[in-house]
C-alpha cells in the first residue's frame, strides 16, 4: 500500500456495538472509561464536556461511545447534545431531534418528557432540540446552569457534546458549568498549534481540563509504537474474543 493511507475523514464513525466491534476498539473505550472514572477520585467529575479544535475530529462519536461504555458498566449516564449548531448525536443514535435541550431551556418541555431512554444501550439522551439563533447565549445562560444542577442527582455522569472550540466559543462558555473538559485530538490531523489554541481558550474560560483523547490512531502505529507488547500480547489471544 506504499504507506499511503486511505483518507476516511468524512466517513461516519460508528457507535460501538459491543457485539460487533473489534476487541481493541472496545478495550480502548474501556480504558478511557477507567481513566475518566479515576479522574473523579478525590474530586467531583460528573459533568464532562467533550470538545475539539475542528469539526470531524470525533467529538460526537467519542462522547456517544464513552456514554455507552459507561452505561454498560452500570453507571447512570445522561448524554446531552449541546452542539446547538450542528447537532449529530440524534443521527448517530437514530433519534428525533426534538424535543431536546433547547426545549427544556426555554421551558416548553419538562426534562422528564424531553429525555429519551436508549434502553438497548443503557443511556439517557437529551438531543439538541430546535436549533436556536443564539447558541452561545443559551449555553451560558443561568437557565442552563439551573437545569444542570436540577438533574445532577439523577445521574452518575453527564456527558456533553459541543461544537469545535476553535470555530465557536460555545464549549468555552459551557465549560464553566462542567466539572471537567476532555479535548478530542485526531491523530495525524490535529496540529499541536490547534491543541494549544484549545487549551488556551479553555484556560481563559477557567475550565478544568481533565486531559485529552487521541482518536483515530492507526492500529499499526499503536502496535509498532509504545503498545507493542500490550496489544501484541492481546493479538495472540484475540481469537477468544472474536465473534462473527
Amino acid at each position: 500500500m506504499l504507506g499511503i493511507r486511505k483518507k476516511a475523514k468524512h466517513i461516519k464513525r460508528p457507535i460501538i456495538n459491543i457485539e460487533n466491534a473489534p476487541f481493541p476498539v472496545v478495550e480502548a473505550y474501556k480504558a478511557l472509561r477507567a481513566n475518566i472514572q479515576f479522574s473523579g477520585v478525590g474530586r467531583k467529575v460528573k459533568r464532562i464536556l467533550f470538545t475539539s479544535s475542528n469539526p470531524m475530529e470525533g467529538k460526537t462519536s467519542v462522547s456517544v461511545n464513552l456514554a455507552v461504555t459507561l452505561g454498560q458498566a452500570g453507571q447512570k449516564v445522561l448524554l446531552i447534545d449541546s452542539d446547538l449548531r450542528k447537532p449529530r448525536v440524534h443521527t448517530l443514535l437514530n433519534m428525533p431531534l426534538t424535543p431536546g435541550l433547547t426545549n427544556v431551556l426555554v421551558k416548553n418541555y419538562d426534562f422528564d418528557n424531553a429525555v429519551k431512554r436508549d434502553s438497548k444501550r443503557c443511556i439517557d439522551v437529551l438531543t439538541c432540540g430546535p436549533i436556536p439563533p443564539n447558541p452561545s447565549e443559551m449555553l451560558g445562560s443561568s437557565e442552563m446552569k439551573e437545569f444542570l444542577e436540577s438533574i445532577e442527582d439523577k445521574y452518575d455522569y453527564i456527558i456533553m457534546d459541543t461544537p469545535p472550540l476553535l470555530l465557536m466559543a460555545d464549549a468555552a462558555v459551557l465549560s464553566k458549568y462542567a466539572d471537567g473538559v476532555v479535548i478530542v485530538i485526531q491523530a495525524g490531523v490535529t496540529t499541536f498549534d490547534m491543541v494549544k489554541g484549545v487549551i488556551g481558550n479553555l484556560q481563559k474560560a477557567g475550565a478544568n481540563i481533565l486531559g485529552c483523547v487521541l482518536n483515530d490512531v492507526r492500529m499499526e502505529d499503536i502496535s509498532k509504537h509504545r503498545y507493542g507488547t500490550k496489544y501484541g500480547y492481546y493479538k495472540n489471544y484475540s481469537h477468544y474474543y472474536e465473534k462473527d
Binding site: 504507506g3 466491534a21 479522574s39 490535529t190 499541536f192
Partner: protein, 235 residues
C-alpha cells in the same frame, strides 16, 4: 522549529517509508536506463596515436628533467598545430565534409599519453565511421604541417584509428546507477521534508512531550463499512 529528529525517529520514518523510497529509486533507475538506451543518441569515439621525433642534433643525450618538461610543452604545441585551421580545413577538404574547422575542432581531443611524447588524437561523433575517418585523416594531414612549423625531425603514426563498435556515451550502467541514486536521495529528502513540516499530533508520546496534557484514552482508527444505504453510493 527547535525540535530535532532523533536517531530512533529517523529510523522509524525510514522504515515506514521504505517501500516508497525503494520504489522511487527503482523507477528512477528504470527511467535512467530507458533514457540512455532509447532517447539519448549514442556517441562513438575513435582515436589514433602518433609520435613526433625531435630533430637529430639532440639525439644521444641523456634525458633530463628539462627534457620531460619540454616533451609536455611540445605535445601542447603539436596539439595546437593539429587543431589549426590549416590542418582542419585540409581534413574537411580531403574527406569532402560539409563542416567548418570550428565544428571539427569540437569533435577533437588531443592529449599526450602518460607524459610520453606519444600524442593521442581522439574524435567523438555520433557516426562511428566518420569518427575513425576524421582521426585517420588528421594524422595523415598533420605531419606535414608540424614538420613545417616546428622543424621537427619526423612524425610517425603508431596506431591508426579503427571504427569503434561500442558507443562511449551514454554509459547505460552509469546512467542507471546515477538515476537510481538521485531517486533515492530525492525521495528520502521529500519524505523528511514532509515529516519536518508535519505539525500534527500522532502519538501519545507527542502529547506528553509537547503539550503536558494527560492522555485519557488512545482510540484506534475504526470505520466499518457504512451501514446506511445510499451513503456509499454517493461516494
Amino acid at each position: 522549529m527547535e525540535e530535532t529528529l532523533n536517531l530512533r525517529e529517523i529510523i522509524r520514518i525510514l522504515r515506514q517509508n521504505l517501500l516508497i523510497i525503494l520504489s522511487v529509486m527503482v523507477w528512477a533507475a528504470v527511467l535512467g536506463a530507458v533514457l540512455s538506451i532509447y532517447i539519448i543518441d549514442p556517441v562513438y569515439e575513435a582515436s589514433a596515436t602518433m609520435i613526433v621525433n625531435k630533430s637529430s642534433s639532440e639525439e644521444g643525450q641523456d634525458t633530463t628533467y628539462n627534457d620531460i618538461l619540454m616533451t609536455q610543452k611540445l605535445v601542447k604545441t603539436y596539439s595546437v598545430i593539429m587543431q589549426s585551421n590549416t590542418v582542419l580545413n585540409r581534413v574537411t577538404d580531403a574527406l569532402g565534409l560539409d563542416m567548418d574547422a570550428k565544428a571539427l575542432r569540437n569533435m577533437l581531443t588531443i592529449t599526450g599519453v602518460n607524459d610520453t611524447e606519444v600524442i593521442k588524437i581522439t574524435v567523438t561523433n555520433k557516426d562511428p565511421e566518420l569518427a575513425a575517418k576524421v582521426a585517420n585523416e588528421i594524422v595523415r594531414q598533420a605531419p606535414e604541417e608540424i614538420i613545417r612549423a616546428v622543424k621537427a625531425g619526423s612524425v610517425e603514426i603508431i596506431d591508426k584509428a579503427t571504427i569503434p563498435s561500442d558507443p562511449v556515451k551514454p554509459n547505460t550502467k552509469m546512467y542507471t546507477i546515477i538515476a537510481g541514486v538521485l531517486g533515492l536521495i530525492a525521495s528520502t529528502f521529500a519524505i523528511f521534508l514532509k515529516y519536518y513540516f508535519d505539525d500534527t499530533v500522532k502519538t501519545e508520546d507527542d502529547i506528553a512531550e509537547k503539550l503536558n496534557l494527560p492522555v485519557l484514552g488512545v482510540l484506534p482508527f475504526y470505520r466499518p463499512e457504512p451501514v446506511t444505504a445510499g451513503r456509499k453510493g454517493r461516494r
